[in-house]
């Protein structure tokens, strides 16, 4: 077993901005379907499905659940901010973040969502266009029940078309 899966190249990459994406305008249907999936089998709250109900809230319009992802399936624009990135070897490649940086990843086979920290700003609503910038966060590791586990963080900052902060998320990916 390796003593460490964190290479010098990985340490040096912390803080690097890797990509930026711009969403398509958020639609009523996007919000409605998200809420229906999350609340299923109950009905989604009317504030996410009915513009008239949403208009009575402080938002005055249909806004998305806070955790809504406007980049699911497709984005209007995806920009790689680095050159020299390597192609991923497979769908759901655990090394995809390092390969995007042009460095070799640790080659671990599996990955899990370790957790998230999210600070919220203004809500996302119908017609909004969100721009998200992704950067490399800290790496750490420790022994777990599945062996030596690598914890890597990714920081994602989203702003809307007015430049207002929508949310800043730190995701922790566990690889083993």
């Amino acid at each position: 077993m390796a003593d460490s899966n964190i290479s010098e190249a990985m340490k040096a990459a912390v803080g690097t901005e890797t990509s930026r994406s711009t969403s398509y305008p958020i639609s009523e249907s996007d919000i409605r379907k998200w809420a229906m999936a999350v609340y299923w089998p109950d009905k989604a709250p009317a504030v996410f499905t009915d513009p008239a109900a949403a208009a009575k809230t402080v938002h005055g319009r249909l806004v998305a659940p806070e955790e809504f992802n406007p980049f699911a399936w497709a984005a209007a624009k995806n920009e790689l901010l680095l050159t020299g990135g390597l192609p991923s070897r497979m769908v759901n490649d655990p090394d995809s973040s390092e390969r995007a940086l042009g460095i070799e990843g640790p080659g671990l086979k599996f990955m899990l969502n370790g957790g998230m920290i999210c600070e919220y700003g203004v809500r996302m609503g119908v017609g909004d266009v969100i721009t998200g910038t992704n950067s490399v966060g800290e790496y750490s590791e420790r022994e777990g029940r599945l062996g030596l586990m690598l914890f890597s963080r990714g920081v994602s900052t989203w702003v809307n078309q007015n430049g207002e902060l929508v949310r800043r998320t730190t995701n922790t990916l566990i690889r083993y």
């Binding site: 999350v38 709250p45 402080v58 999210c118």
Partner: protein
């Protein structure tokens, strides 16, 4: 079993909230039917959430659900507490155990602090036997009226 998901705003008046108050739990029995719906909106078709055999190849006893969906369940818990005019300011959640197929997941919250209209909440999700799947904290803001 599922809880009422309507944001009934039981605690939207900040003056009625006390430290130690429990949020109305958000409950979902979880299986492929939940996860497939979520995968369809988040384009999150992970093999270990799609079939048991893929999860076993990763060292788990059966298929398990997306952390992102538990994240949504925690937000649904908070939304029901703050009502449509409240705000979620910050959420911090760590996933501790997989949400295995056929488990009933319950999201809980306890009020730990109140500062003006800002409320601190301890969060967790647990399965049928009481084991915690995710733990965390949140800061929310309630309408002052």
């Amino acid at each position: 079993m599922n809880s009422s998901s309507a944001p009934s705003i039981p605690a939207s008046a900040i003056s009625r909230i006390q430290v130690g108050d429990q949020l109305q739990p958000f409950i979902r029995r979880t299986d492929f039917d939940n996860w497939n719906r979520y995968a369809a909106v988040n384009d999150e078709f992970l093999p270990h959430s799609m079939n048991d055999e893929a999860a076993r190849r990763e060292g788990f006893p059966k298929a398990f659900g997306m952390g992102n969906l538990q994240w949504s369940y925690v937000h649904s818990l908070l939304r029901a507490f703050i009502g449509p005019d409240g705000s979620i300011l910050r959420v911090d959640v760590q996933f501790r155990n997989p949400n295995l197929r056929e488990q009933t997941v319950t999201a809980h919250g306890t009020v730990t602090g109140i500062d003006g209209t800002t409320v601190s909440i301890d969060l967790w999700t647990q399965e049928d036997e009481g084991a915690r799947l995710a733990v965390g904290k949140a800061l929310v803001s309630l309408p002052s009226g």
